[in-house]
Symmetry: C4
Subunit: 490 residues, 4 copies
């Protein structure tokens, strides 16, 4: 049982202990593997990191540390190891005061008419860090925007004089019934938007009959989220494959035991993307985006010393490849879906090796810049279980994707914004909005059930004739041409 | 004969009486069928609703109530049942004072050079409610704008050295002569723009030799509008099909008896579209847009309890389908035209079952978002009696539609704006502007009569290579990328 | 010899005399034929109109009046018939004072780097009337802007390693040598920009070896302009065909006698276009744009009385047609060129009936809105003597047109702006700028003489994939969608 | 040995001596050949020009003057020949004071996240002259912007489930190993951005394993730059061919002796382009852009006198043509690459005559306006050693070019901006940024080495469907249409 004084001496990169919930941990070896970067841990080296830890992490995350690094309960006056910023938190910045005021003035939920409204409120009342983390995309965010804008190149071909008295919006995805043809896709770090984070999404899905995909990088532990589900509520699981396959195997088997109905293996993120908006935010020391800063530093040092080839941390396995899928098939009976397919050749291969389906996705525009908009890839692929995510904001977007052959769509950020602004009630309202829009537009297009939708309802001739979204950085540095000037008035 | 005191006791949703023009009505059963929503009625439960009623409704609309709900003349001091807002109306809001001032400063009619000018004036001097109701469209209003902008992708191929001394702009539509190749299409709630509402349009059409299509949802009764016509003036009738076919039959037979020359059955509105601009306006308690609010509430409750399938109010028959058209043919000899066709397959079917023609229309962009611009659908359809409406603002728009094979175009909002700003004189001026533009441009294109126009006069290669209109909501929530900042100056 | 007192009594529409340069004229019958409208004449009915007349008209224009309307020298005190605005002119408006100041501060000519610079200066120092008249186009001015923007869809395919030490920019058009491959095309009312108006252009063309096309509607008489030419200077003549063919014949024969080398018959203007920018300017009472106002008034009256068919004034012959071209061939040996061809069918016909060539032109975007950009029509037409005008601002525009098969380009407005801002020196500078740009870019593209240019130098694949210019009026009346609002801070 | 007094008498265009580093030179005959124009020299006629000379020129540049013009050391008090502006330099303009302040506040290098950040900082802290010279392009700068924007029409087709643990970014170009698949291309006048100019680039290339292309128009002498290289560092040489072939031969042979690995002959600049932004800057008297002013003046005089054909100065040989390439092959064994090819026909010819490769380039948009974007030309050309430059700002741009078949890309301006803002450390940081972006995106696209990249990774269907960049000048002179105005409030 280490004493407070003992802990305090392990306060550097070569020898780093921290205290979480009254227990000490030796995290020296873990520093380089921390997805959030080592800087944020080092800030608490030799001190109590509980508060910062709880802001983003599930409590059981410390269990992943090797047994020998669990040092046991700390003895002594914890005040002595309080972090440097312990006081700071009590005095509010001017920015925070303004944010609190905006929170008190936010529109009534009844005034929220569409998913954009949630986002607009979120942009103003979320913390800078949270907003920047949720909203950012890769490079110039062209793919991020194109994801949505590509839907606008598609027009409908509505039918008339169809009896649309009854419209049935329910569907079945991977054998799971869903009241609406979309699911809540996996997104990381729910606590950045709401203290109850991912649990909020679980509860709203429960009341509304919507499927939730649980993320690997949630702010709560897998079990905490799974426990939140009501009887008969279906959940899927999104997996980042860890280089340590034992860890991965344990996670997958546990998910299956808990009744997870689908395993979505993320294949578009062998490395976590750079997101400059996030990097520029004041997200200075506390969260995941530090991955990027650290990587940058390392890459500089490593590259100078070792040349261009280098390995990144073991958290995400950069070596993941087609052979590994067979292994997954050997350890689980859950249907396996590849999340992040972006070209038809890979869809064909996924089918050939026995995957149950794919998600056409570019990770919400957060990974590869100039990855194609998913709805455009959709037109390339035929006859397979296909989900699509990215850029969906309106029922019409959903209907376009379904008409083009996909079996359900994933929606992520909009529900995060609803959660961050109005909690569970907000997420349910977001579902309601989409249901109302769907029902209205199904009637107007002349379709009464999800299966009615097919290619005859859409005109995709405009696809690919896109206007690329504004290149803000290029335009901000380009100096417009001027004309000859009149002489100054004396 | 109910007394004032008696009426006052029936003041809630389960038991609701209101007074209109001195007579009491039991509207309890009607609450759910009111197109404008029950909220606005409940505001006057147990009270005198005359003033609010007259703002939008024709006096005879109460006749539709079942006999047993007509309770007769009310006895007693009507002051006792005056509505809560009786006083309010006397004191003007700041906004209203500003509006009145703008009305006094509006440009002379001689300064109005094109149809946009009417709209600009209307936007400033109409009530918020009226402007929002007339101007709004579905979702992001992309179809609303595309309706007009699609015309701009079409260029002319003018001929030269044609003797154009005389230009004849007259034509015949459904056997009715018209001095100009357009008609005033049906639009609802004319009183929102002018106390004389639809009658204004009738009078202007009379003096100018233009055909008017009378709307089902007019602010005046069908007869009031029909009575306004002069000898020999041709009118058509637009029909929303009521679930109660007896009501529908009565309306249709009456229209035929009154000499209506064409029956335009609306087929693009099995449900009334959501229009967010309208919902956001202060249109809080008084008019038709409440349909939307109510539906939203209901849908939430119903959906939670009964699942996704639900029926909406009986006012518009959501079950209307191709079979019903035969029934219409059995009850009337008027030519039947389907208003709201949006794909060639439906045009073919309309012809096969003996309809006289179609209107290619997306309801002015007010119903299905991403419905195609009518002028683009026009190119799909051949050899049928075709009208087109939506987005027409210039004579060149009309000439493009006519060149592509349509037989006449419908124009709606521009005449509402002319009516709302300058009354009958304004509408006549709007006709004059279009005639002058038509005459000028027919000369310049090298055509001397409407029949001269054909596909050789237009270049439609640019069609479909569109730039989608600004996505205001998406752009308002998207946060542009920033650059690195200079340090603050100390 | 009428007296001042006598003249004063003829002061109305039914009996209208005016005084010009001391002589009285009976213009009662001419009122309806005045291209500038009767209103401006009636303003001076019974008075001395000399000052207003001289602002835009050549002195000999009164000769066109029938002999019997020439009433001879006026006797008496001319003060008594001074126009109402005689005093006004002495006191300057605030606007005029500002304009005079800007004139004094205009950039030195050496600071003018391109043709846009002239236009920017002109926009600020020209009178409102002059600027509006020169710069305006039809309807929404989409064709006006498309004329220029269409050039920007064309890219070059430059050749390298060509000896470009010497670049010869001279060419021959209609047998006339020209130092540069463009000519100054006909534009009306030169005095609006400079007191010496069209003479300025003649002088600059003389010193620079450029061909000028003399306009029918010049501010100086044909002879005044022709007299300004130096020995050997080539001029062409642009003709509006008058309904009175005797007048036309006299004009054409006279032009031939004076040595005019080409007769350009305008065929794209059977009526003068409506230009709203011009109509909105304060151009209230003095000039040609009143054509439009008058026409509007008349059209209203006439149409109400006589139906849609009507004839406009005899000034421009609306009956002009292909048969008439034969007559022109019978009265002149000058080569005849049709100015305003806009489709290949008409080019073929022009060739078949023996015209010497065509000008692909849409009248600078001032007549038919949505007429195609000339450079796009150019690609339709083969093997004929072709000129092109409209939208040319850079040497690269000229080189694109020449590469696509035209034999020379006409430039109008830019030279008017140069003339209006810096007089003859300005026009010569404009020529210099174009020559410098041409020489530079001929070298850079790898061509050493005009004949080198051909289709292999341009990539026109982008043509027609245009982005339509901003629809200012539509956008100004469209109200953007809003979002839900935060509550007001108390 | 001339005296100070003697030098002072040679102070005009016909007889011009100047003093540089204490020695007098007779530059009378050289005036017309000075690339920077004669005006700047004449400003120092009869005086000491050392300071102005050193700002842009390498010290040995005076060696190019003929022997007889070297007049030897000057005797006497140099104060007597101090230039007029000697004092000026000590007092700072307001603008310069502001610039110095901005320099002191510039962001820390660690805050620079992408190449645009360097440019934004440069735009604010560089001198006007330097910024205008580096950033400007031809005419309306459409090609300049299109160079970059064309990349944005290309989307990726990423592969998944590829083992990307190790990514090798190294490559070989012209036999020279490079750690990254780009080189620092030749750009002129490095001292405008940094006192150590091109040497900075050499040093950064040395530490980072990047190839530098030495420019003919460097601010330091060829040897000064070559001397800066470390052992084994590879450099190429960019050549402007001088009309005096002896000079050219001497330069080429010297470069080969110094170990230069590739000779890049510029073929897209038979004349130096006009760049209006540069001309409008206050670049009034000191640098290279005066070429343009002088040319303009001369062209006016010459053209008036001698007609359109004229020769420009001998500095750049306008007669350079395909035959000359053979001569180069006879005087050097260095691989010869043509820099500035812009159409496939010329690429084929270059291959046929034995060139080692080509650079598809339009000189950074500084020469021919409407030259095609290099990445679009790339798709035309097959199987040849191809480099591409112009508009590259992101790793994704590089990967697109490499996927389309090029062997390496040249980057110019971004490194100039990095150099001008943060010196050598800035340039190295720029390399680091590109390496990090490359490594990240290679992983995300599913490629582990440069050779993996091929056409299957890109979707170029959108190419050529471009939106032309804003035409600033056209738009600045175009006056938007207005609407009818409300009357003024009294």
């Amino acid at each position: 049982m280490p004493t407070v004084e003992e802990v305090k001496t392990h306060d550097n990169e070569e020898d780093c202990w921290i205290i979480i919930h009254g227990k000490a941990y030796n995290v020296t070896d873990f520093l380089d593997e921390h997805p959030g970067g080592k800087d944020i841990i080092l800030k608490y080296a030799g001190r109590d990191a509980t508060k910062a830890f709880d802001v983003v992490h599930p409590r059981d995350m410390v269990d992943h540390l090797a047994e020998e690094n669990h040092l046991g309960d700390v003895e002594g006056d914890m005040e002595a190891v309080a972090p440097d910023d312990a006081d700071e938190e009590d005095e509010q910045t001017e920015e925070e005061i303004k944010r609190q005021e905006l929170i008190s003035l936010k529109p009534d939920l009844s005034k929220i008419l569409n998913l954009f409204d949630f986002e607009l409120v979120a942009r103003q009342i979320m913390t800078n860090n949270g907003w920047a983390y949720y909203s950012s995309g890769a490079d110039d965010e062209i793919t991020l925007r194109e994801n949505h804008l590509a839907y606008q190149q598609i027009f409908f071909r509505p039918r008339i004089l169809i009896n649309v008295s009854n419209v049935d919006l329910s569907t079945t995805m991977l054998g799971c019934p869903s009241k609406l043809p979309f699911y809540v896709t996996a997104t990381a770090l729910g606590k950045l938007g709401h203290a109850d984070g991912e649990k909020i999404l679980t509860r709203a899905c429960g009341t509304s009959g919507i499927i939730q995909m649980i993320p690997t990088l949630a702010s709560f532990s897998f079990d905490e989220i799974a426990d939140e589900a009501i009887d008969g509520q279906n959940q899927w699981f999104q997996l980042y494959v860890n280089s340590d396959r034992k860890v991965t195997e344990r996670i997958v088997r546990h998910a299956e035991e808990r009744g997870i109905k689908g395993l979505f293996i993320t294949v578009d993120a062998p490395a976590l993307g750079r997101r400059e908006k996030d990097m520029r935010s004041k997200f200075s020391s506390d969260q995941d985006s530090n991955v990027q800063k650290i990587n940058e530093k390392e890459s500089k040092q490593i590259d100078r010393n070792q040349g261009a080839a280098r390995a990144i941390s073991s958290f995400i396995d950069t070596s993941l490849n087609w052979e590994d899928i067979k292994w997954f098939q050997s350890i689980t009976k859950m249907p396996i879906i590849l999340k992040g397919v972006q070209r038809w050749e890979d869809a064909v291969r996924a089918a050939e090796i026995g995957c149950s389906g794919i998600v056409i996705s570019n990770h919400g525009g957060r990974q590869l810049e100039f990855a194609p908009a998913p709805v455009e890839v959709l037109a390339e692929i035929e006859k397979f279980l296909i989900f699509v995510d990215g850029g969906i904001r309106r029922a019409t977007d959903i209907m376009k994707a379904l008409s083009l052959g996909c079996n359900g769509v994933g929606i992520g950020r909009p529900f995060l914004y609803a959660m961050s602004t109005y909690g569970q009630e907000g997420v349910e309202k977001a579902f309601d909005i989409l249901r109302d829009e769907l029902e209205m537009n199904m009637r107007l297009i002349g379709a009464t059930k999800i299966d009615d939708l097919n290619e005859s309802f859409v005109n995709i001739k405009g696809t690919g004739k896109r206007t690329i979204p504004n290149d803000y950085l290029f335009n901000s540095v380009y100096e417009p041409l001027g004309s000859s000037n009149f002489k100054p008035k004396l």
